[in-house]
Amino acid sequence: MVDVRYDIAFRLYPYEKVPDQDLPPKRHPVVIVGGGPIGMALALDLGRKGTPVLVLDDHEGVGQGSRAICFAKRTLEIADRLGAGQAMVDKGVVWNVGKVFHGDDQVFEFNLQPEGGHKNPAFINLQQPYFEKFIVDEIRKAQDDGAPIEIRGCNAVTGLTPAADHVVLTVETPDGHYQVEADWLVACDGARSPLRDMMRLSFDGRVFEDNFLIADVKMTADFPTERWFWFEPPFKDSGQSALLHKQPDDIWRIDFQLGWDIDRAEELKEENVRARVDAMLGEGVAYTLEWTSIYTFQCRRMQAFRHDRVFFAGDAAHQVSPFGARGANSGIQDADNLAWKLDLVIRGLAPERLLDSYSEERVHGADENILNSTRATDFLTPKSEMSQIFRNAVLALAREHAFARPLVNSGRLSMPCVYDGLSLNGPDLLDGPKRTRVGAPAVDAPLGESHLLDHLPEGFTLLCIDASAPDLEAVDGVSLTHLNLSAEGNPLLADRYLGDAEGAVYLLRPDQHVVARWPAVSADEVRAAMQTALGKDVGCP
């Protein structure tokens, strides 16, 4: 028996018995447990690179409920690299304007006003089931093109035994259990990660004593496509804060902060949810309730995201509050980070210790997200009388004075992580723009009718802008593709990659992060930087 934990929105991978279930355990290079957005993105990335991957999911498709709804530009860029980005942007709701209220009064209004020259918007709102479906759609296309990806639905992992150079999994199915061997295992099995428990690994952090009620309502009312956030909302029984945000299909996400001592079952009764929503939307607004849920949250992470042959990614590895949209967005960066490293190690092109940098870099990312999300939570739910006084002082001043508005924190929206000062970084010898420094992900820029990121090839790239590069097409068997551009007549490209320099050479990793940059460079220097990025640097432990 496989437990059904939730209802399915899209039944994308129905259970099918496979011959392996009646055979001795078969060895797989990579097994991913959990077919959520992170597991599927990782499977797609590995499969596109030609590395065989097996996904085991204990359900037969994508779960219901909007859950993560805010997807950031970096996530869309990663999805674009995987071929799934356009479908997300086409379906998603693009928004820029946010309004912050305190009680009845508007405190201020902001506009994310995305700067020009990027293919993707700063944010889209899209229900998580769509996000997941678009990735699985792309997996199906990749499979048709021969990508070695296999998804097994209704396959629940119930046991894990580490061996010297692999792990053995026990998998429960409607036809009984069988075993699978994995050279490498990636746990993408969510915040309650059963695999983490099976390995008796801790997941420590801070618990926030608060409950949030989500109500997704469907209505055709004429609210603008804006993010509205209330501190101490004026409508009846709405708690300490509330949020109204638009999703596709005329669905609106409404969040109410209910406090700690509540009766969950009582609060989730339709008439009680409706009473709150009615008070917020006003009398006479017709709507249907699409999905409701009450959640609590914690800010915590595992000590390390690699444990020998097992990796943890997404919510299984780290959990944050929802303020700032840093859950799914950071998980996608985990997948982006791990895929190329695992691929190169499996092919024997990089040493195993390259895999330790996954933990180093993504722990760095998780700490940044936990810090931001904890600060937002402290502003939203002041923990002492004095923090409440300061919070309300900020809100009072923000109405009149611009200086106080940056202090208002209703969530600092997810920005791409920069791997400042970490092991895989090479030299930064260009006196160039800060945003494209070593460790940062490449920043998009216009290129004629298209955009820079669309032109970046798979794998390592030597990006030469008004500079010549040494004749070097591979380092230790890992290929290096050249992309030669000119910033002449392209001020945005110059602004983002050259600054005051006349030309520049950038070495980019397969996940588009900058390894090193120079005003001019020799073959030896590029080779050395690439070896550092492959985890071969002798200075590296």
Binding site: M386, I389, F390, N392, A393, V394, A396, L397, H401, F403, A404, L407
Partner: protein, 64 residues
């Protein structure tokens, strides 16, 4: 510029008067809120985070 802990207000008594006058007739809650707003306004004016950190240290290390 380091935090100035030497006398810097030309008319100390006049300033003290202004401060108390602003709180005149306020309840404890209103005064607390006023103080918080005042701290935020002044902190923004100073802007320099090193000076602010020094000021916080100076305020925390008071002898009573």
């Amino acid at each position: 510029m380091p935090l100035n802990l030497e006398p810097n207000i030309p008319d100390p008594d006049g300033f003290y008067d202004l401060l108390l006058a602003a709180h005149q007739g306020l309840s404890k809650d209103e005064s607390d809120a006023l103080n918080a707003r005042l701290i935020l306004v002044l902190a923004n004016h100073i802007g320099d985070v090193d000076v602010l950190r020094e000021a916080l240290t100076a305020a925390c290390n008071r002898s009573e």
